[in-house]
Amino acid sequence: MEVSKLPISATQRGKLISAGYTSLSSICSASSSDISRGTQTAWDMLQEEQESLARITTSCADLDNILGGGIGCREVTEIGGVPGIGKTQLGIQLAVNVQIPVEFGGLGGKAIYIDTEGSFMVERALQIAEACVEDMLEYNRFLRNDCQVKTQPKDILENIFYFRICSYTEQSAVINYLDKFVSEHKDVKVVIIDSIAFHFRHGFVDLALRTRVLSGIALKLMNLAKKFSLAVVLLNQVTTKYTEGSFQLCLALGDSWSHCCTNRLILYWNSNERHAYIDKSPYLRSASASYSVTSRGIRNSTSRSKRIKMMI
């Protein structure tokens, strides 16, 4: 029987075919370790995960708490919310925070910011960078540390690689190109795409094709994250869906896309405060936390009655 007629997913079929197994008999005669080239045991993976405990702080302690310390490397995190909730703010904050030197508990890495909507404002990045440097100096003074704060706000801006994307073709192109780019700039530790949805919401007539292209993109980003041990952050837009007799909010790009990312964080308004909710994660507990957007960036919210709500 031909492999192409086997009832398995196209990806697996493709993998088998590209590995040279074109008929059922050839698979049967191979041993399991031949076919499973490129797999690992769970124990090896645990060792790997322990090594990469690095997480990128969001500068808001409550948010970091529900995220297990911050945005994790080697995984794809999707962050979605209504316009004005602070997605781009969080994106810029992460692009700055990834550069916090290792002596201050950061990753000391660089950032790639892929802007599809034109919402990246350089003035705001400068404001956040200046606040970050001031916080580091404050931390230094407080702990009377010997380590010098050598970074300047301009250096921080210099380490943000900015791509401006104007169509979904360019978006696919840049994601394909990232592999080569990151091999040449090995200290990139975060890739932020703001927003993943914009160009795919119009211009694609064939929605089934859109779903396939999007899952191809998600797979590439996941591979990128694992190969270079970096964090991929995707910012998503919001749309309404008619379910259970009323319109409800949901993240854009459809149901199939919602399976593609490792973690999903939803930013929403709750009685005049901004909150973040862990909607999907293989290892983080469902919880929500409040945060605020200040002139210095993302910070803890200052309301008196805040508490982290565990929602199980």
């Binding site: 404002m121 210099e158 009323s246």
Partner: protein, 357 residues
């Protein structure tokens, strides 16, 4: 970039021929399919497809810049680092210099709150010569509801810049730089946008004003079933025009009061909420109300104008560089002026409940 021809990309001959044979002529064709589909279509090994795609992607991918370079470049080449000052001190401070280039700024408010006045003033400011703080360029004003009055604009000019407007011929020259289009239907609007593309790319136009967006789409106020937004093509064209030509684009919009059953929640919120809470909470009504989320996401700065108990307020509601601030203003012969330079910081729900006069 997307329409770059594969034949011009200097791919290895064999793969280039195969692409051509299967009618994949532009980068867009190649990148619109998944790798597996390309593999099936072209009948080549996956590894070959991948390396060809990697080459195509590298060529199509726009060049990167560091954020520092971006900032320095803009500061060096653009007026005030890429801003059109509105001459309203408090507002300009909140917006880091003025209405930013390259993105869409939206003015939202019920009828009669001063949106057209603000647009007229901005058009004037953009037409002014550089040494008076203007952009010294043309303005395209798309007037959908026929609210443009040249007389009012000249009055504003004469009142704010008497020395320019009273000198011979200046009023005519300033007014001559403002091109007013009055489309009466969505298709006419579409045509006008196409024509504008050319003159924008020739660098003569420095500001585009669209007054107003939602008048173009009748029935846009009803909640629509999911599907293509009627203005989705226009939204993407407007945002890409802004980006390519690096000009400010100002758009005005109406609001409508939100009805009870429209407060949109996420599924996880619905699960935990009581009946009582559901009725009491109101979520960002006017952001949803006008043209929906799709448009709201495309807008970078949103200024909400409202009138409350005899006073007018301009609220900076969505801005990447400013917290929500409210400025009270008045309308006078020279346009709009703020009553105080410092805005008052608003607590969010105030921005949601627009009260009409």
């Amino acid at each position: 970039m997307a329409n770059k021809l594969i034949s011009e990309m200097r791919l290895p001959k064999s793969i280039a021929n195969i692409f051509a044979a299967r009618n994949i002529t532009t980068a867009k064709d190649a990148l619109s399919l998944t790798e597996l589909e390309l593999m099936k279509l072209l009948d080549v090994e996956l590894s070959e497809v991948r390396s060809a795609l990697a080459l195509v992607s590298e060529i199509v991918c726009p060049p990167f810049q560091t954020a520092l370079l971006l900032m320095e470049q803009r500061a060096a080449t653009e007026h005030l680092g890429g801003h059109l000052p509105t001459r309203l001190k408090g507002l300009d401070a909140a917006l880091c210099g003025g209405v930013p280039f390259g993105v869409v700024t939206e003015l939202v408010g019920p009828a009669g709150t001063g949106k057209t006045q603000f647009c007229l003033k901005l058009s004037l400011l953009a037409a002014l010569p550089a040494h008076y703080g203007g952009l010294d360029g043309g303005v395209i004003y798309i007037d959908v509801e026929s609210t443009f009055t040249s007389r009012r604009m000249i009055e504003m000019g004469a009142s704010s810049f008497p020395e320019i407007f009273h000198s011979k011929g200046m009023a005519q020259e300033m007014a001559g730089r403002i091109l007013v289009l009055q489309p009466t239907s969505l298709s006419e609007f579409t045509e006008s946008l196409e024509k504008i593309k050319v003159s924008l790319l020739q660098n003569q136009v420095k500001l585009l004003v669209i007054d107003s967006m939602e008048a173009l789409v009748p029935g846009v106020h009803e909640q629509r079933a999911p599907g293509q937004h009627p203005l989705s093509w226009h939204i993407s064209l407007i945002t890409s025009l802004a980006e390519f030509s690096r000009i400010p684009i100002v758009v005005t919009n109406q609001v409508r009061p939100q009805s009870h059953d429209e407060s949109c929640l996420y599924p996880f919120q619905v699960q935990k909420m009581d009946r009582i809470l559901k009725d009491r909470t109101r979520y960002y009504s006017h952001i949803v109300a006008v043209l929906g989320f799709h448009w709201a996401h495309a807008v970078t700065i949103r200024l909400v104008l409202e009138a409350k108990s005899g006073q007018r307020f301009m609220n900076v509601e969505k801005s990447p560089t400013s917290p929500p601030l409210a400025f009270s203003f008045t309308i006078n012969p020279s346009g709009i002026s703020l009553l105080t330079d410092d805005g008052t910081e608003m607590v969010v729900p105030e921005t949601c409940n627009l009260s009409s006069r």
